[in-house]
Symmetry: D2
Subunit: 334 residues, 4 copies
Amino acid sequence: MTSELTNQHEEPIFDVAQIAHVEILSPTPKETIAFYTKMLGMEVVEQVEHQTYLRAYEDNYKYSLIVTEAEEAGLGHVAWRTTSPQALQRRVKALEESGRGTGWANDEYGHGPAYQFTTPDGHKMEILWEVEYYDCHTDKRSKLLSRSQKRPANGVPVRRLDHINLMSSNPAADTDFLVKTLGFKVREQIVDNDYVVGTWNSVSNLVHEIAIMQEPTGVKGKLHHVCYWYGVPQNLYDAADLLKDHDYFIEIPPNKHGVSQAFCMYAYEPGGNRVELFGDAGYLILDPDWKTLTWQMEDVPGNGDAWIGAAFPDSFWTYGTPAPAAVPIKAVAE
Amino acid sequence: MTSELTNQHEEPIFDVAQIAHVEILSPTPKETIAFYTKMLGMEVVEQVEHQTYLRAYEDNYKYSLIVTEAEEAGLGHVAWRTTSPQALQRRVKALEESGRGTGWANDEYGHGPAYQFTTPDGHKMEILWEVEYYDCHTDKRSKLLSRSQKRPANGVPVRRLDHINLMSSNPAADTDFLVKTLGFKVREQIVDNDYVVGTWNSVSNLVHEIAIMQEPTGVKGKLHHVCYWYGVPQNLYDAADLLKDHDYFIEIPPNKHGVSQAFCMYAYEPGGNRVELFGDAGYLILDPDWKTLTWQMEDVPGNGDAWIGAAFPDSFWTYGTPAPAAVPIKAVAE
Amino acid sequence: MTSELTNQHEEPIFDVAQIAHVEILSPTPKETIAFYTKMLGMEVVEQVEHQTYLRAYEDNYKYSLIVTEAEEAGLGHVAWRTTSPQALQRRVKALEESGRGTGWANDEYGHGPAYQFTTPDGHKMEILWEVEYYDCHTDKRSKLLSRSQKRPANGVPVRRLDHINLMSSNPAADTDFLVKTLGFKVREQIVDNDYVVGTWNSVSNLVHEIAIMQEPTGVKGKLHHVCYWYGVPQNLYDAADLLKDHDYFIEIPPNKHGVSQAFCMYAYEPGGNRVELFGDAGYLILDPDWKTLTWQMEDVPGNGDAWIGAAFPDSFWTYGTPAPAAVPIKAVAE
Amino acid sequence: MTSELTNQHEEPIFDVAQIAHVEILSPTPKETIAFYTKMLGMEVVEQVEHQTYLRAYEDNYKYSLIVTEAEEAGLGHVAWRTTSPQALQRRVKALEESGRGTGWANDEYGHGPAYQFTTPDGHKMEILWEVEYYDCHTDKRSKLLSRSQKRPANGVPVRRLDHINLMSSNPAADTDFLVKTLGFKVREQIVDNDYVVGTWNSVSNLVHEIAIMQEPTGVKGKLHHVCYWYGVPQNLYDAADLLKDHDYFIEIPPNKHGVSQAFCMYAYEPGGNRVELFGDAGYLILDPDWKTLTWQMEDVPGNGDAWIGAAFPDSFWTYGTPAPAAVPIKAVAE
């Protein structure tokens, strides 16, 4: 390859490292927290007024989930961590130039200064570098060095935050913003002829840290789901069995996705937000020159949604939070 | 954080993307190939004189394994792919400056120009950018877009190459070379007081693409093992069951590692090289500021080697290829 | 308990031990056999004219499946083995008295004299005591003493025959016949108010060796499915993945049944007969005084059919073989 | 087969149905109960003076485990349920004739009159027919009809009692007693030339409800282990992971047995008694004419003990309860 061609190759941006935490809104925070702690083995690390901070036992930072009391369910915000403080500055500059930045937040619990911004659709996000790591008392530590605390004895405990999925009135616009401003790469997408219905995007080797899916009524800024990870496909059956016996609503039972190939399942927590659980994270994208995989919408049912599983119900394509008042929240807490 | 502190933070090098392929040497290539094809479901894509090129069904490139006929078992070479052609140039420059480069190879099957070099211990490596992707006839394609070919019906088929583990007379020196010249990060290590016994190093979110372990007799350039990945822990029991019934030697049965947390097992292929199989890849390192985890050697048995499993046998710490003539090759092909 | 009450307790009949083999009919025997051998790892032990005898690698007897060429798919016959030769005589006597016996068959391949009979709905059955055990050449034997031959390296190999499910114009009548004449116990049943829609019946600790389900159009003597067993839930995903990639029709993906609690999935073999695969056999009935569990039909979808899984499609309740000409056989062989 | 030969066939005795419950002794009952409840999800149903009654969530009867406070760990007694009240009378008669009976117990919690007896080695046993079934409040019931109560949210919950393993100064004598007096069948055995080292015996389709193993020092009446069942192999890794993080002693990590083929693991509860956990129950013996499988002791390590797993440690063959004072109890409760 000549140096001419070499110089024409656009190098990837490696400035964003991972999803750091997610804030969800719940009209029934007590029930939502019971769901995450009793069923999914998460732990409350802090409670401040209307906000509760939770972690999974292999989350590295202090917390990965914030549950905020609000009138309606939905997305609070998503936080991204950069690969370095210099990378934070570069991304902040790009965000400022995009016009979507809203300024710095300097007094957040558990992390340093975060630059806040919104997607074109209005989803709130922030980007940061400094974080506080989780550190527990000696008797809670595991001898397994990569594990931040002992495996919990309650529920079927999730190990770490995995990704987020947002609904958008214009997935192409939101995706474009993530790609251009933050360096996300579109790993898989679903299109209806040329119209972009959904994109799965990552900055890491995961198939996605963030997916964007069409909100079919054009409502903006909705949450599709937050996903936690087990690493073991069989644990999905254990979790589903527990949730079902305790009267939580399972929207889609364990199956193997086509997109991402991950073993997954979906339930609704009592506040109404959809929760996804990953058995494994699917395949990893190690190829630095990965070309986006494109599914035609008509080929998706029974292949793209679930490669091994029944085609997903309509609710998967239509339900998000906040949900219209007419749609009853289907989860009944124990 | 002041810009002074910001500028002091050393940004990671993101130039190496992944392990592209591995070449192993076998005195009994026919039996070695039978092991990989009949037991592990791999496919031969090309055979040229004394070299056979094989792939797993979710390997993206033409092949991931080369089996070369030789007098003794051991490592042929390891190939790395960079994140861009510019990154290749940067790494080649660093390698040239290190004095360990040996020049370009331009006529390799399945990839473009590769710059060749050795580790301090003498292991042969190469680094490249251009690769040929696997493309199969329509009737071999899977509807699952991320899968390069249909799941094979033979053996318990592995999905992709995962990593390599080399034995070295001086793990610290080899590790240092990988870190400084290629941008590898030491994710976990085992030390005996201060002496580095083993390192697990990656450029991706995997805990390691390459491990370096002490060769206890001081012999240089040995191979510890090559690892292929299933993604599903249970498949290790299926593979072990098949291998055992077909008289292959299982050195260490399925267990969950402490280092990496991966579900794994070890067998010897008939040529004598150790083979590792991963059920899952363990935990992923998404934290951009990951601090190396350090195990003291005395704490390792029953914790670091196997978190859930018996302490590894001595052979794990002593056997590598080429093996001394006195050590009989333990695998008997069917 | 007084001896009066004791004497009133009706002791179970322990005369029938197990399902010994099943004969299915196929209009495309070559494709049917390819399905069972290449995908499910079964082995052909004998081929006589239009009949092929197959076995799974942990079947104790010579074979467990006969594939007979015929114009239409469907059930050939089911064979039961008694607990002793005396038990055979007792059951033959009961069958003769029932008027459903059709006489002895003395020259069958792989077993001794079998007394033939039909269910009220016309399904052909036979009962026997003497069988020929599978015995293989030394090099095919496994060191695992309970395993009759080495684990096959082809497909995702099933381990043994598990059960049969027949469709009937009158499930209550057929069930009654099995209970009174052969000593079957009704373990679980589905009723529509009082009308018996389906029964799951066994003579062993399994929840069922034979199920009887309502044929909704009143056609007699149909086959619903034959089931083979893996023992490991995860293997269902391996089998489904393989079948899907090789273009076989998966009617119902892996799920956990409510009835029996078994992990299961359903596919159609190319001849059109439905095939069930069990990951595990569900719970075992060790209680000697087990009371039949009764599901109301309206409670079944999403609970009885699949406890963890989507409610079964209509085809599960309507499709059986032979299928009406209007219903296309959905399996396309590779 | 002539009626002469028919009459010579010895018909099996079907009088004993299952293992009903086990009583173990513990010098630290509080810690023992914490182990079973917090780690293994069992529930205390009754506490009377020094006895605590526990159940697993799919045990049909009120309880399956009694923990009795005593100076030393070990076996309290084993209880068997017959297939009918008539069967109870037949077995009591046989036990009386054997001279090993010790009389009726009429006031036991949770079951009717039980006839008590001992094995030649002195292990206490009882046999009964009438039992009290578990019945819970509506809000604890599961919609899954075969499940007696909702899946617990604590620990990695076991589903039901599976079997017991006793150490004996003379395994052949104890086995013979079980066979002749109760109708047990020897399914697998380990011999040292002709000397019987261990037997695996059942009355059901399970490979064993009771195993007898040589106590190497000749001490009588010891307990080797009590086993609970999950039904899913992967759950053993979840249980082992939890136990390890909470500092319980894991004697043998998850592996697949040769004898029985069951996925299993062994730990010590804090009182010192060995606990086995079954992932699945292995293969089932449906063949009514099953011939005992015989392993030579020298072939057992790495094949009979663990088919897929490391050869068992010496402690497996030597440790039982009560343990000699010199042997420290290895479990440290959290």
